[in-house]
Amino acid sequence: MKATLLTLLAGLMLCFKAQGQLVAEDASGESSILLNASGIAFNLSEAALSANWNNFRKLAVEKPYQTIWGIAARGSNNEGLSELFNGGQFTPQSRISGFIGFRKSYQTSVFELLKRIRDLQASENFPNENAINTIRQLNEQIKQSREKQATRALSFYINTGLNTDNFRLYADNNNSSLAARFRTVSFRGAFAAAGLNYEYGPRWTLGLSAGFERDHNLDSLVSRDYKLSNISVIGNTQLSSETKYHAYTGEYMAYNRISFKTDALYFAKLNDDYRLVWNTLYTRLFFPLHEKRINSLIQAGSAVNIYKSEGKFAGGLYAQSNDVFNTLHSANGFTARISFGIVAKYAFGSIMSRDYAK
């Protein structure tokens, strides 16, 4: 509750206009689907702040083929947002990524007819009776052709990026000094993925991606607070000082893995004011390469996002099983491996003005 209030307060203080874009992400803010959301996002349960810059505004006009691109940055604190606000230990994580994609619309014949209309409108002696009659006929043809087919579009994209994680690792194998047991680890990871999105009719968007990642097992380590006391004694006086460490302990390793992601979004209208995007079932599959100590992992979940049709606010809930087949032996009961979260996303218009957006 405190985190919610703080986030809302931060949003108000920034005086940004919140516009309705949506999220359809899993608990770590990832999706195989490119939605035209651009802006800043807060994921309350995971304490992430992210910003995107892309050319999604051009998707306001559908063309037979379009190139889409974007860059995104995301920073987060492993310990959660409330820790961040309370001045708690900050374990910074960041990710920067970029993508380029191609989108194809299946309205080919309609685009051709519309182009013919445009050419007639641009012709030298326009307007004239003949041309206008032809345009009327072409419009009828377009309507007939559209009656027969639902909206369909296919996008292909390549997504790549870097991520960093800085934290302290406690290892009790150094006996020269206790302080030396707290080692600073700067992990540098990278990922590359290729994905496909298929939009069918007004209700369904399906996404699939496959990628390669350099990752580490930070989330399987135990996080602890340590106090290191120094005591100096001279004569009959004693001075003590304390250093606090927030560190992770356990067997740490960095490794390579391949990943697969699938998403299936369903769009619905709740009433005149509210819309719903439901990521009916998403899956995340991770298979480590040449690393026997790391198990394969399968995650699955469902996420519901509700937003106002005027687009003032988008938020939602997700439920995710972090280890569907208990390959990590994280908990025996299936329900014990499910996590829940709230997602609230504030999105902002492009930073480019209309004069520079071409």
Binding site: A60, F111, N125, T151, R275, G311, R354
Partner: protein, 122 residues
């Protein structure tokens, strides 16, 4: 042959007069208008150049208007667009500086994902 055709057309001016049209168009997040898919009075409206900073709003640029053909029965307005369930667009037109009675023209996504409009506005 082509020249003859062109000359022939010049002589057949359509019935009606040219009026100046301005507009404001708002859409929800996932609506996309088909390229060349928005015409008023047989004039193509250039949505990409009329897009505002807010990507879901479009309007005639300051001091500009579109010279459109107003026929006896009204102004032919054609819009072809796509969207998700519950998406909409809403259009407000002004002819010679006066708002039309049909304002706002509002269209919602049909079961095939289309938000099309083709009608005479007087």
């Amino acid at each position: 042959m082509r020249t003859d055709q062109a000359k022939h057309n010049v002589n057949e001016k359509p019935a009606g007069k040219i009026v100046s049209v301005t507009y404001k168009l708002k859409k929800s997040a996932f609506v996309s208008f088909l390229e060349n898919g928005f015409s008023a009075g047989y004039v193509n409206i250039d949505l990409l150049s009329d897009q505002e900073t807010e990507p879901n709003s479009f309007s005639t640029r300051e001091g500009k208007s579109y010279p459109c053909l107003m026929e006896g029965r009204g102004l032919q307005v054609t819009v072809f667009a796509e969207g998700k369930t519950g998406d909409f667009w809403a259009l407000e037109l002004e002819i010679d500086g006066k708002p039309v009675a049909a304002n706002p023209i509002r269209v919602e996504t049909d079961p095939q994902g289309h938000l099309d409009f083709d009608d005479l506005i007087s």
